[in-house]
């Protein structure tokens, strides 16, 4: 049993950057759930955090956009954004190069991955880590997923990547925590920004926590985009983690449709035999 924790959380910059702009009770519930999950993660004593995080034009451009990129560097710096804007201090987080290289080698038997020794962490990883591992001293293996621009890796493929990841790390001696970041419904940077599809988000959370993630893996990208906005392509990270921990029990710790953060914000965790 080496998956000691499996979590998924939204990463809207407003969560740390402008929490006061949300209604206090809404922000309070969400931030409290985030902090609570941080305590839970700490109690699980992970040796390494595998963070599945979406690319946001910080590491890759249209001249070379990997579907999946594993960070095999000695360390990773973040946030890439202005720390004063995100209100998360800029730090250097240790990597786990030995495990990351092993992960790459073993996963590559079934999934084509890219790797990089240098990856900048942006709000996608830094906002969740700010609550989940605030000391920023736990070794991290980032896995960047293209949830950003077409052609996207199919949802089905992200789900399969998660299955392979899960099968692999279960056999590791290290205590591994899996963290998915992103989503749920949002239309970032668009005229529709601020719109949230609560019905989609709740349906997604229910499926994920009830072991029915395949239902969303079968969704067409066009349907996701029409219903829940381009930001919802980030459910790829959630699907991967849900697939990795199939059989574990999922639980929603928070869901708040926070207009001031322009995102359907959710936090979920999986528990049971990993």
């Amino acid at each position: 049993m080496s998956i000691v924790a499996a979590l998924a959380a939204s990463h809207a910059p407003g969560i740390t950057g402008w929490p006061e702009s949300a209604p206090p009770d809404q922000a309070g519930r969400f931030l409290k759930a985030f902090e609570g999950l941080g305590e839970r993660l700490s109690a699980s004593r992970p040796d390494v955090l595998i963070v599945l995080t979406p690319e946001h034009w910080v590491n890759f451009f249209l001249n070379n956009m990997p579907a999946f990129c594993v960070g095999i560097g000695d360390s990773f710096a973040g946030p890439a954004e202005e720390p004063a804007w995100l209100k998360v201090p800029r730090v250097t987080i240790p990597g786990a190069p030995k495990q990351a290289r092993a992960l790459f080698r073993e996963m590559s038997r079934e999934i084509d991955l890219a790797f990089s020794e240098e990856l900048a962490l942006d709000h996608g990883a830094m906002v969740p880590l700010h609550f989940l591992a605030p000391q920023m001293d736990l070794p991290v293996i980032p896995i960047f997923i293209n949830c950003l621009t077409h052609p996207l890796p199919p949802l089905q493929r992200c789900h399969r990547m998660g299955q392979v990841l899960g099968e692999l790390v279960r056999a590791w001696p290290e205590r591994v925590a899996l963290i998915a970041t992103g989503g749920l419904s949002h239309w970032p940077g668009m005229p529709q920004a601020g719109k949230i599809n609560v019905e989609f988000d709740l349906r997604f959370l229910q499926a994920i926590t009830e072991g029915r993630s395949e239902e969303f893996a079968r969704y067409a990208d066009e349907a996701i985009e029409a219903e829940a906005g381009p930001g919802a392509h980030e459910i790829r990270t959630w699907l991967a983690v849900a697939a990795a921990v199939r059989g574990m029990k999922g639980e929603v710790f928070a869901y708040e449709a926070v207009q001031a953060w322009a995102t359907g914000c959710a936090i979920a965790a999986f528990s049971g035999a990993g």
Partner: protein, 88 residues
């Protein structure tokens, strides 16, 4: 119009402080290095967000560009209102 090159410039503005500083000093010279057409350079210099959005610039490249040009969220939204209907 080269959407790819406009976006490439915006990406570099995002990730490279040296490119940002050159943009602030002489936007036209920098844009010329990206082989942008005169009308594209004008659109960028004027920060015509609706035109850039309509030509298909990715919203997560456009939003940081707007920030660089000192355009706040409220003005950004006002500039884009209605622009999605004609987006490429």
């Amino acid at each position: 119009m080269s959407l790819y090159l406009v976006q490439k410039l915006f990406y570099h503005l995002n990730v490279d402080p040296k490119v940002r500083s050159r943009f602030q000093k002489d936007a036209e010279a920098l844009c010329a290095e990206y082989r942008l057409a005169p009308e594209e350079i004008a659109t960028i210099k004027e920060a015509d967000l609706a035109a850039l959005y309509r030509m298909g610039v990715h919203p997560l490249l456009l939003r940081p560009f707007a920030t660089l040009k000192g355009i706040g969220m409220a003005d950004y939204r006002r500039a884009l209102a209605g622009a999605d209907k004609e987006r490429r």
